[in-house]
Each structure stands twice: as C-alpha cells, then as structure tokens.
Amino acid sequence: MSQSYNRGLIEDFSRWREFSAGMWAWIFHKFTGWVLVGYLFTHIAVLSTALSGATAYTNTIQALESLLVVRILEVGLLAVAVFHILNGLRLLFVDLGVGLEAQDKSFYASLILTGVIVVASVPTFLSGVSL
C-alpha cells in the first residue's frame, strides 16, 4: 500500500549545508513560484488602471517604468521567471522519465542558463530609464 513519506527531516531548513542539488532545486522552485504568483496579482492590479481610462493607464505605466528601482525589480522578475521556466522544463522531463539520472546536472544548467539570459537582458531592461 502506498503511503505518504515523512519529509520532516529533509525539510528542516536549518540543515541547509547538507542539502543536495535536488533539494536546492525544490527550494528555488517554491521560492520563484511564490514570487511569480504574488507578482501575478500585483500585475493585474496595476494593469487595471486601464479601467480608469487611457490617460490613467499610460501615465501610471510610464511613471513606473521611468523609475530605476522598477527596472531593477523587473530584472529580478526576469531571473525568477526564467529559472522557474527552465527548472519547470527539467521537472516535466523528469516526470516523463527523462533525465532523472542527470537531474543534478540539469539543475546546474538551469542556474547557469538563467544567469546568462538575465545578464544578456540587462541592457534591454534598463533602456530609456531616467536616472
């Protein structure tokens, strides 16, 4: 009979020095997931200014996008989204029975590729911002 596995010891975060690649992948995926769902609600709230008319929407978005801190947060959002996408692909493949034996390497590849894509995107994400 199948039964739930008690993961209490594994999920004791004070043991973080002992975590393996798979455990870090699990933590990063949860963390990025929480950030993304939080952002989804914020995103719809900001876009809802369109309900107050064209001028209100354009002024709100342009005022936000003119701030350097918003652009930096957007770079952070990109990092979070890219990692969640790449690690999500890794999880989908593992679910399909592909790449389980190399799941640690595919996690490191997800991290490196996320870093490369984010660094390469910084100039585009900061273009036109007022300092």
């Binding site: 009979m1 199948s2 039964q3 739930s4 596995y5 993961r7 999920e11 949860k30 997931g33 929480w34 993304l36 769902v37 989804l40 609600f41 719809i44 709230a45 876009l47 809802s48 369109a50 309900l51 008319g53 064209a54 001028t55 929407y57 354009t58 978005i61 342009q62 996008e65 003119s66 652009r71 957007e74 990109l78 989204a81 996408i85 999500g88 692909l89 999880l91 989908l92 679910d95 995107s121 585009t124 994400f125 273009s127 036109g128 911002v129």
Partner: protein, 123 residues
C-alpha cells in the same frame, strides 16, 4: 514498496492539470516576456499599443487563456505547497475557499481589463 513523495491526492486530477498548464505556460510566459520587453520596450508602453494588440482575437484569446492557466497554476501551486507543509482539516478547507475566491476575483478583474483595452470581445 514504493512510497509516495507527493502531497497530491492519489488518483486526483490536480497533479495532471498542474503539469498540463506548466507545459502551456512555459511557452506563453516566454512569449509574453519576449514580446513586451524585447519587441516592445518598457519605456514605450501606451494604452493605444496595448489596445492595438488586444483588438486582435488571437492575441485577446491567448491572453485570457494565459490569465486563467497562470492563475490556476499559481494558486494550485500555493495550495499544494501549504498542504505539503502540513495544512489539514478546517484550515485546509478555509484556505481552499479563500484561494478559490481570490482566483475568481483575479480572473474577473483581468478579463474586465482585457475588455477595456479591446472595447468588448474582438469578434
């Protein structure tokens, strides 16, 4: 004997839908970022540009589907993470109801916004 390493209910559909929406979102989220940050740029956003995209039925329907799948995937992910951390009983039922209500409100607000841009369903 195999032990279950998941908190999804055995035989439930939520695990499958989480994966199906993930496969869709991987493509559409990447497209969303690419279109709105690399093709169009952050400092160029205006109501008219958003309106021009939303007036196309293909784009409008893709964004509505994006909203619904992202809401399901995100909220279902939160619910599952909480169950994974030991949420049970009355609190589990209450959290499920609150997350369900939050999802409905988010989707309604998103659809209202999309309709404001498109000036109605763009058929």
């Amino acid at each position: 004997m195999a032990e279950r390493y998941t908190s999804f209910e055995p035989g439930g559909r939520r695990w499958l839908w989480q994966r199906l929406t993930a496969a869709f979102l991987v493509v559409v989220l990447a497209f969303h970022f690419f279109l709105l940050h690399f093709v169009n740029h952050a400092d160029e956003v205006t109501f008219a540009l958003s309106q021009a995209r939303m007036e196309q039925l293909t784009y409008f329907s893709l964004m509505i589907l994006f909203l619904v799948t992202a809401t399901f995937h995100g909220v279902n992910g939160v619910y599952n993470a909480l169950v994974n951390q030991g949420l049970s009983g009355t609190r589990k039922t209450a959290v499920k109801a609150i997350l369900g209500l939050a999802s409905v409100l988010l989707i309604v607000q998103g659809v209202r916004t999309a309709l404001a841009w498109a000036g109605g369903v763009p058929i």
